[in-house]
Symmetry: C2
């Protein structure tokens, strides 16, 4: 019987609003059992870049990370956001420990090859990127790892890496050792049947139901890649994927994706 | 028989110069056995503060840390410097793991009381501040902890904390479990008999010799508090304190302070 493990990913909305951040920390602390937190950046990194005279460059909604941008996002994600979350979790009594992928070589990425777009210092991960023995040691010592969206290539180079991808790769790599629930948190209560009605949460989606919803065009375009990604994680051994509101993780309202 | 443990503190000079930083990383990697690195900030934090329109405030050579300054130094120390050191050590093959005092509650400080000067968000440490079981777990797992000069108060507040003090407190708290050598690295080759002659390194200083040197006025004023601090660490059980050049830690030239 494997121990259960919750991997919770939070994004910009919660991180940008101090009140929501405190509320999320209280809810995350209340989640029982072993857990991991993965956080993205939020708007603060862009604001800091602009304060330093570096114009954020985006292509297809993704950040182009040149050397100066990497320096700033590393400071913001690994320094400011990560340490704030760790300190607030420690205040509650959750024994949080902040990690970039370089720390303990916990996430080794490869720099994205230059194609039509040169994304710069951006890292891609595979299921072999994760130092699972280290995570088992940390979890076994009662710690709650808190990951920021920075990895490294093992050759001295830090890399900016998508937080959704980090959460998915961690879940897949840890699935042989834990019964993993992967939680994607955002500002809505779950996957909505009607994108304008926050009460239209679909409680459960099987692969068959997903095909129906896709065919009917009911799922918002932005949600599609997240769901594809989620079902791939289930195929790879993750027990369940949950899509929910960051401030309601201890409430029953949510969408649970399951294998069948 | 206790395992030996080296605690190495580096300061501004090495951190401010990329070439020296790489050279130090190579030397630190070559140091045999279990080890811990503690780093201060260097001039980069002041440059970043000024870029953001925050004028660094110093009183008696110490930084006044208001909330905006704390944000920036946390980003710089815990984000930029710490992650760069960790990534460069990983490149060499040293399994470094970066820590602020908040991570794993490894260093819990108390905010310095407001006296004649309000230093702001500055943390003071005692020998009871250190989570020694966590450090034993990390060292036992083959990791090399890399500490930045940020701690927390356990109540959600991060605190700016002197890196020399962090190194001393770690050494004292770990002395019951390891044979600890505490290395203070700087730009000179050791304690000099003649401050203008870098070849005048005093190889060994006992408490009796220290009293003689103090009485004769031979020791530079800036070195005195460091030495007082070092002998206090020896009294508290640290095996030896070494004062040496950050780029020559594997060479025999250095000053060793010993109990008798």
């Amino acid at each position: 019987m494997k121990d259960s493990l919750k991997i919770v990913k939070i994004g910009g909305g919660v991180l940008d609003d101090p009140e929501q951040l405190h509320q999320f920390v209280a809810e995350f602390h209340r989640l029982p059992g072993q857990k991991v937190l993965v956080h993205g950046g939020g708007k603060g990194a862009s604001t800091l870049l602009q304060s330093l005279g570096i114009e954020p460059q985006m292509v297809n909604g993704r950040r182009i990370t040149d050397a100066a941008t990497l320096d700033v996002v590393t400071m913001f994600y690994a320094g400011k956001t990560n340490k704030l979350l760790v300190a607030l979790l420690q205040e509650r009594g959750t024994n949080a420990l902040g990690l970039s992928g370089a720390d303990g070589n916990v996430l080794r990425a490869t720099r994205r090859p230059v194609g039509a777009v040169d994304y710069g210092y951006v890292g891609d991960l595979t299921d072999q990127s994760v130092n699972t023995p280290l995570l088992q040691t940390l979890l076994g010592a009662g710690l709650t790892p808190v990951f920021c969206a920075i990895t490294h290539d093992g050759q001295g180079q830090l890399l900016n890496t998508n937080a959704d991808t980090i959460a998915s790769v961690l879940a897949r790599a840890l699935a042989p050792f834990y019964e993993v629930a992967l939680h994607f948190c955002f500002e809505k209560d779950g996957v909505l049947a009607d994108v304008n009605d926050n009460s239209s949460v679909i409680p459960q989606i099987t692969p068959a139901r997903f095909q129906e919803l896709k065919a009917s065009g009911a799922i918002a375009a932005g949600m599609l890649p997240k769901l594809e990604n989620a079902f791939a994680a289930l195929e790879a051994g993750v027990e369940k994927v949950i899509i929910e509101n960051a401030l309601k993780i201890n409430e029953p309202v949510k969408t649970v994706l399951c294998r069948s």
